[in-house]
Symmetry: C2
Amino acid sequence: MKIEDLRGVVWRFNERLRFIVKRGEVLEEEYEPVVKEIIKRVKQEGDKAIIEYTEKFDGIKLSEDTLEIPYEELENAYNEIEEDVRSALEIAHERIRRFHELQKEKSFFTEEKGILLGMKVMPLERVGVYVPGGKASYPSTVLMNVVPAVVAGVEEVIMVSPKPNRYTLASAFISGVSRVYQIGGAQAIAGLAYGTQTIPKVDKIVGPGNIYVSVAKKLLFGVVDVDMFAGPSEILIISDGTCEPSWVAADLLSQAEHDELAGAFLITTDEKHAIRVKEELEKLIEDFPRKEIAKRSIERFGTIFLVEDLYKACEVANHIAPEHLELLTEDPFSILPYIKHAGAIFLGRYSTEALGDYILGPNHTLPTGGTAKFFSPLGVYDFVKRSSVLYVSKEGFDRLAEPTESIAKAEGLFAHYMSVRIRRET
Amino acid sequence: MKIEDLRGVVWRFNERLRFIVKRGEVLEEEYEPVVKEIIKRVKQEGDKAIIEYTEKFDGIKLSEDTLEIPYEELENAYNEIEEDVRSALEIAHERIRRFHELQKEKSFFTEEKGILLGMKVMPLERVGVYVPGGKASYPSTVLMNVVPAVVAGVEEVIMVSPKPNRYTLASAFISGVSRVYQIGGAQAIAGLAYGTQTIPKVDKIVGPGNIYVSVAKKLLFGVVDVDMFAGPSEILIISDGTCEPSWVAADLLSQAEHDELAGAFLITTDEKHAIRVKEELEKLIEDFPRKEIAKRSIERFGTIFLVEDLYKACEVANHIAPEHLELLTEDPFSILPYIKHAGAIFLGRYSTEALGDYILGPNHTLPTGGTAKFFSPLGVYDFVKRSSVLYVSKEGFDRLAEPTESIAKAEGLFAHYMSVRIRRET
């Protein structure tokens, strides 16, 4: 964990800051040719190509009959998992559902003499949820991606996941997934985008994945809608030194254990606190099952920034625009208005990120790598679409016909002009 | 205009229907290498590369001092244009602003014992608006793309447009654009995405453009946010034969005049009406300044579908998912609930598309080429981002600590578990 002193300097030009902000820049181009080939073959051949790629990349031999996991297996998984985990997933599901209900958008209309204008809000019909497979197959990923779709009113939620574990299948059962296919990678994304003999075409694909999945989603954007691109994740903690250093250290580690590119950053006004957190972290990390991953992330990117005051801390935080931001300060609400860019903002010493990852209710799918400047957490708003509604009576028409003609003429679009003119003359 | 009879057949397998739905499929791949090169050079060289490309593609010699159009020129343009057009643009601006105010999303929070959860909604800081140049430089494009950003609270709206005409500049003045650069193409998009010596980096880019602009937006998605991809536009009219055939024909033409790939479709239950519309259209088209464009679009794609009843008409419409849908029927509101996919729905014989394009208030930037299945009209929601807010007290923490630990253990994420555990033990 590097300690970097930003006090009394023009912090925006700090090398270290630039280094950690840019760490997610991946050369996607390198992966494009192979992903394009996969997409092309799946588009042309459907299931056949998916089955071949699944054997090649995931080492699983499937047939058209075994691409889909029978629904009973989801229920079996639900019954088989440990009682405490099942109960915890049920609590999480209920809390996530309740929070997302608050995000529901309503259709509306407005009237004036002879004119009614409105916006009709409708759920997408069918969406695909990608859940990474094997060891990184997380039940919380299922809940966080499926629940907003179900709350939005999506009729059919298709999950794809290579080698899903029983927790993942149990979560699919709890959250109301319609069907699960045991496939992954770019081939699964292409299958969902175009549809195959057995896989239905979806309108939108969400969920995290490796670089092949990300590149496939980007290439197919437009054919289907996709969610934001998940880069390496990060936590940024702002601390005034009032929180136990061991708690701060544990929270930093909970991000660092995700992967080697994960970022764990602390901004503090208290130099002694900085040193104490560093020490606690070095102590804690030694007991870790995922020690090697966490160590590499901490050594390469882990940084403690020293700043003069909390306002400067907020400025630096806005510059980084972190996925997770913890305000471990005495009075966190007083600095909330200064936070402009962050996926999720955790306030106060007991609001550790893990609670938000699993159980509090807001979504854990958040914009990474500085994209919090323009992207939002996954939400119900991602699973609806809107149509404008426009009704004009003769009276309303008479009022607006002339100015419409003026603009049409200025734009040189004669038929636009004519479509109004003809209604005034006949 | 081809008449296609869908009565008594399985219309989903109709060749003609498939042909018009797929007409927008463009081989973007062909344009990728050249656009990638442009992006790379602009990223590395900034203004220098933009100035070179502007001379090469647009034939304009610019320097770093003339990239930006002085703000006085916008005001001058406003004062110079014809009185009726200025007044019409002001009316349009005010109506568009009023409608978009209704789309504003509010921050919210919810409380329970020891827990506060919320969503903070904030405007993007800086956005770029692309406006095509030359002949297709439309003042309405400026209003429709800028107003939602301004209503959302975006601080700085940067417009780029090669060779903007005075109507376009006047609209920029009316709608509150911060600055205008007279550049276009992929180089303008790259300049906005990365920022240059004179052009500020933006968070999101919106606005229609040619294939180079579309490909650049797609490639840079993630570096910045972008709006949906504009394909060739279309109108679909559902008519029960009660509307004057000449009105229907004029509305079809108002789409066909846009470009050769534009689609103009009619679905009707009345065979005689179909023939009458076709005749009116052939008559009207002869007087058109943009006759050649409209003719090519109508001859190639223009289609009248005959169906048994209005429910089937709605089904076919949902299949096409048109950008513009006109319900020119006696009781249009009775079929509105059957419409699932359309960018904008115009109800009744006086609600011609041109009114919506210019003056009614809802946005005219709409999803094209069937993407209304998952995309929405441009709106205020496109210019905000959200952050989750999570506060947990000791009491709330105690309530949720155990189930959080259960899920963390099931996922094998030890530090997640530890970050909770350590708060229970110290």
